[in-house]
């Protein structure tokens, strides 16, 4: 398709303080495109949660963002441990984050639920021991 833009971000797995840079970059691009502030908000929050998850659980990964005139699609792919029980992971408050991560205010068990809440579609494709790919869509 001609009318679409694709941006790829490599998420560094070592650095908490840098998580959010990719979502911030996407946010600024969406503002330059004149996307509604509601869609920007949803995209930024969902993507930020995804970035944090990748840093906490999967030692980083890749995010591909495709912007078309109908939607914003974010594909977050990592080679982390995978999610053994998706239903459980989707429960608010459920977290497998390590103690030192929680002490930083992360790992409250709201990541995946928020990603679902702030997007119009979300699909999780995960294989234990191999990695997880989450596809999220925000309609425009």
């Amino acid at each position: 398709m001609e009318d679409q833009l694709i941006f790829t971000y490599i998420i560094d797995g070592d650095d908490f303080t840098r998580a959010g840079e990719a979502s911030s970059s996407v946010k600024n691009k969406l503002k330059m495109l004149g996307v509604s502030s509601e869609a920007i908000r949803k995209t930024a929050i969902a993507m930020y949660e995804g970035e944090i998850n990748m840093v906490i659980h999967a030692n980083g990964g890749t995010i591909t963002v495709t912007i078309s005139d109908t939607d914003i699609t974010m594909v977050l792919a990592d080679q982390g441990p995978g999610i053994p029980d998706i239903d459980k992971a989707m429960q608010e408050g459920f977290s497998t984050a390590r103690e030192e991560v929680r002490s930083l205010g992360f790992g409250a068990g709201m990541g995946l639920p928020n990603m679902k809440r702030f997007t119009d579609e979300m699909e999780i494709d995960t294989v234990v021991g191999q990695g997880t790919t989450i596809t999220m869509k925000v309609n425009l």
């Binding site: 009318d3 679409q4 911030s24 503002k31 330059m32 495109l33 004149g34 920007i40 930020y48």
Partner: protein
């Protein structure tokens, strides 16, 4: 120094072209990337400028000039009331009593004074009430600094609804001062001059084109740095000689410092940030909902708060201490809404609207195409953000090109590689000629064209921007 009225993007910083050396300091320091250097001179893009004054501070050649009114404006009115900002008091050494400054203002030629700090206490009271009634909508963002409002309206649309919809202290002061002056003198409103003695030029734009209300009651804005030395000879420290004029407490005067506004709100969960770069970061984090549990967010564009404004004289951090010392033994607050019937409405009448000035095209489709071109161009540029093209970053140059305001050759590296390419082609053609095979008419034409192009490109060297 006149300023245009009713321009929603009007600004209070002006370029003194004769002083501008065409260096790249301002374009690098501007937090909203509102400045370009073309043809060896800086120019400010109105709609991107938020009046923060950072370029005024950082221009090494003093080519950025704050716009404000001369003190002679007091001759334009039958009766004038001075509205001193609390930051004025913090300019003076060993000030023990605000009345010393207020009495000196009368001697300087004003007919009356009304302290902005008195109105600030009313704003604090109204804010406390408003927050209490709207706890489910917190955090609120302070709306006293005009640059903060301007920044939010162009860059943070989702935060507009968080702005505290309450008039700024100076506006409340102006409204009360005019009403009192009319009652006292019987003059018409236009015969009374309400003159703000301001720490910053941002309030100049505000007075001409306010946000949140339709018209401001402030007639003119003069600079603390102009008034400061003129008051000195009139300052009498013998307190028995002073008319008792001051009527504000610790909360009101404290507004001059960063953290002063939240100090008057009596809330525990707050964030008070100062300095334009810091507040940009806070706004980003607020927008991403990374900051939790806050009731109020105070933001001041200047380091240290209003005492750090570009129209002040004293070092901001020393001024902060002076404010604290001055208010140490003052009562918490001396002004209450119920005692001020002149002020009919503390709230904003108008909504602040999002101004999508950074949008590339007029429609989403158009913007998408333009952004795709921006990406291509950015990939072609070296990514050094050297500023030689006159834009602050390679990315902004790409945006300018896509908007039709610059050309790829403005990038010195692109230009250099174009020149190298032309030279190579010329060399290839002339090599053949040297080897004995004469050039065909076509090749000769091509050679001449390359030489012409090379001459044009070389001519653009030296003075940036002349190729346009």
């Amino acid at each position: 120094m006149s300023v245009d009225n009713n321009n929603k993007f009007m600004r209070s910083v002006r370029l003194r072209e004769s002083s501008c050396q065409g260096c790249i300091n301002c374009i690098k320091y501007c937090p909203t990337q509102a400045i370009r250097v073309h043809n060896g001179k800086a120019h400010i893009i109105d709609k991107f400028c938020i009046d923060c004054g950072r370029c005024i501070r950082y221009c090494p050649h003093h080519a950025k000039i704050p716009v404000y009114d001369p003190l002679s404006v007091i001759n334009n009115f039958e009766y004038t009331v001075a509205l001193p900002a609390p930051s004025l008091y913090a300019q003076y050494n060993n000030l023990t009593n605000v009345d010393i400054v207020l009495n000196a203002l009368l001697k300087l030629g004003f007919d009356d004074v009304y302290e902005v700090s008195a109105a600030a206490e009313l704003v604090s009271e109204a804010s406390r009430e408003y927050i209490k009634e709207h706890m489910d909508e917190t955090p609120f963002i302070s709306s006293a600094c005009p640059s903060v409002i301007r920044l939010i309206r162009v860059k943070f649309p989702s935060l507009i609804s968080r702005l505290l919809p309450i008039k700024a202290p100076v506006e409340v002061a102006a409204e009360i001062a005019r009403a009192r002056a009319m009652k006292k003198t019987g003059l018409k409103p236009e015969e009374i001059g309400i003159i703000f003695i301001s720490p910053c030029p941002s309030k100049v734009s505000y007075a001409k084109a306010p946000l949140g209300i339709e018209h401001s009651n402030i007639d003119n804005v003069v600079a603390i740095k102009d008034v400061y030395p003129l008051l000195l000879p009139h300052m009498k420290h013998d307190e028995s000689q002073l008319k008792p004029l001051s009527h504000s407490g610790r909360i009101g005067i404290g507004w001059s410092n960063a953290g002063g506004e939240v100090g008057g709100l009596l809330v525990d969960n707050y964030l008070a940030a100062d300095g334009i770069v810091n507040i940009l970061r806070v706004l980003e984090e607020l927008e991403d909902e990374k900051l939790h549990g806050l009731t109020f967010v105070e933001l001041n564009a200047c380091n240290g708060g209003c005492v750090g404004g570009t129209l002040t004289v004293e070092n901001a951090y020393i001024a902060m201490t002076k404010t604290k010392r001055l208010t140490k033994y003052q009562p918490v607050s001396k002004n209450h809404l119920e005692d001020n019937p002149e002020i009919r409405n503390m709230y904003w009448a108008d909504d602040v609207e999002y101004e999508p000035v950074f949008r590339l095209g007029n429609t989403f489709k158009e913007s998408l195409k333009m952004m795709s071109y921006v990406e291509q161009l950015t990939a072609m540029f070296p990514g050094l953000d050297c500023g030689s093209c006159g834009a602050p970053t390679c990315q902004t140059l790409a945006e300018d090109i896509v908007r039709g305001e610059a050309a790829p050759n403005d990038c010195i590296y692109v230009l250099r590689s174009n020149i190298a390419d032309l030279s190579r082609r010329i060399e290839a053609l002339t090599q053949g000629k040297k080897a004995g095979s004469p050039l065909s008419d076509e090749e000769d034409e091509l050679l001449n064209r390359y030489i012409r192009e090379l001459t044009t490109e070389l001519a653009s060297f030296g003075v940036p921007g002349t190729q346009r």
